[in-house]
Symmetry: C2
Subunit: 343 residues, 2 copies
């Protein structure tokens, strides 16, 4: 039976993760969960972000379920680089999977897009690009200061994430992959991405392909999100595009994500995109839906697609029955979701 590591984290993390675990237990009894105390709270208490011993322990699990880490009191970069990105890189989570759906029963901000019409997934590269940490500065704090950030792209890294995107697209109804880059300006990396894309596309004659520059894609995600099926893109573009996709489908409050090592050599990690939301933490009013949808991605990755579908459909039921404006209780939502998923 699956062994998962749980990093509930900061702010609303513990509250929403508790509901995600409740739902996992309901659809797949017997999963064992070990809690790890990581995040802003631990950092403030001990000065530690991610001790090597914890990293080693985490590596022994089948997956990681993460709530949220972060707090305005921690300097920028400390938890991002030291914890989230460290895990993504250490566990070679090269597929950062971010589905976006405009769920029936919900309202997006776009006047011309009706619930049910948007169903896309961004396959964001997770271990390269501008996130590699290559860069530096000279003459800091003088008028001569120069600072660099370097985007590193390898054929190995680019091709494997593109291949993952095509494999996912081949299993979907529309079977369409959009490559997003900026080949007209970032000509070196752009050319590598474009050539790798072409090569993998040739292995999938059944999948339709298109290319868009990132600025155009950002625009079309706003004006015609319905047109997308699978989008594959680099780490930084994916960071931006997935927040746009979340925005047009009702906000990051509903957005799930998975940082996946597809071969299962290392644990994959699943987390709601919303962050720790310190303003509403501890009040029992956070929406656990994004955490529960992240749990569905976890179940799917661990080889339980039926359980994943049941959880996803429970969310669809829950959302379609909500009355706009009526406040929710985190626990009650979790109870309902567990109920729907096992009905």
């Amino acid at each position: 039976m699956a062994r998962i590591a749980v990093v509930a984290g900061d702010g609303i993390g513990p509250e929403v993760v508790a509901q995600a675990r409740k739902v996992i237990d309901a659809v797949l009894p017997g999963v064992t969960a070990t809690e790890y105390d990581l995040g802003a709270a631990r950092y403030h208490r001990t000065g530690e972000v991610l001790p090597d011993s914890v990293l080693t322990e985490l590596a022994g699990h089948d997956a990681i379920l993460l709530g949220a880490v972060g707090d305005p009191t921690v300097p920028p970069g400390v938890l991002e680089r030291g914890l989230l990105l460290k895990l993504r890189f250490a566990f070679d989570q090269y597929v950062n999977l971010r589905p976006s759906r405009l769920w029936p029963g919900t309202a997006g901000p776009l006047a011309n897009v009706k619930p049910g019409e948007v169903d896309l997934v961004v396959v964001r590269e997770g271990t390269e690009g501008l996130y590699a940490g290559a860069g530096g500065s000279l003459h800091r704090d003088t008028p001569a200061e120069v600072a660099t950030e370097e985007s590193l792209n390898t054929r190995h890294g680019v091709e494997r994430v593109i291949r993952d995107a095509f494999t996912r697209a081949a299993r979907r109804e529309r079977r369409r992959v959009t490559l997003v880059h900026k080949t007209n300006v970032l000509t070196h990396a752009g050319s590598l991405w474009a050539r790798a894309f072409e090569a993998v596309a040739a292995e999938h004659p059944d999948v339709t392909t298109e290319y868009q520059h990132v600025d155009a894609a950002a625009m079309f995600l706003v004006t015609q999100p319905q047109r997308y099926d699978v989008v594959v893109t680099d780490n930084l573009f994916g960071d931006i595009l997935t927040d746009i996709a979340a925005a047009v489908t009702g906000g990051i409050g509903l957005a799930a994500s998975g940082c996946i090592n597809p071969e299962g050599r290392y644990p994959s990690m699943f987390e709601p995109v919303h962050g720790s939301a310190p303003d509403i933490a501890g009040k029992g009013v956070a929406d656990p839906v994004a955490a529960v949808l992240s749990a569905a991605l976890l179940l799917e990755q661990l080889g339980h697609p039926d359980a994943a579908v049941r959880v996803t459909e429970a969310v669809a039921t829950e959302l379609s029955q909500r009355t706009p404006g009526v406040p929710l209780r985190t626990e009650e939502v979790g109870d309902r979701l567990a109920g729907y998923a096992t009905a």
Copy 2:
């Protein structure tokens, strides 16, 4: 009297630029214009993109009015790097100015945003960052290929564009500047941008400031574009964010831009954001409004703020009187705008 260089370019470029010139002539008689044949057509005919002799001639003008360059038949990067970016860098156009308004009479895609509510300007850095052209590749076309792109940021370059943003904000009603970066991941460049921002902010106690990560800004531009006044950001983030801002204010069909060398040591360049739109070229149906608004930015930069306001108000009149769905004629719109601007 001002001497401008006109690069009408490809596709609908010549049609819309003709209307922009008509309006300039109406509000500021006596401007002399010299036409330069650059773009996809010239490249195909002669193999030339931007001969040094033309660059030198352009440098002798007070400003450049550009229609659109580009065509699907030209390989990616050739005209972008060889012409547009070359001009931006050669003429040190470090302020890439992109205003976005949801004009009364127009419809944006957002259900909750009413015409008249959005009025923001993005001040995008234009001469540094990932656009510097630093990067390369090794082992091309082998499994070992690696490709890099480097973002170069100098205190000089960052501070001057931030200063420009504050100066603009200080003249606006809301006097608010939002810095957008990704300081939690791009820690070197992010720190430089954040420190330069703080230093310049200290010179402007009357201006309110905030910071957002680029992913959050992309999201808020979709959900709450009303909240922004002046946004300052780096070259690539600005490329993406301005297309989102255009999308939420009715599309790039209405978006104007200026590549500005504020000191006037080199000519500034003004162009509609829409591109050459080969599908509708030559039919006399392209909307010249974005080109005319770009001409307004040109007039403002050349020290004719009253003429600029008259042109901008002519556009407001034109847009408020349009009936959705009624096709327009490029020439007629130009005639009306010239009329309104001189009424």
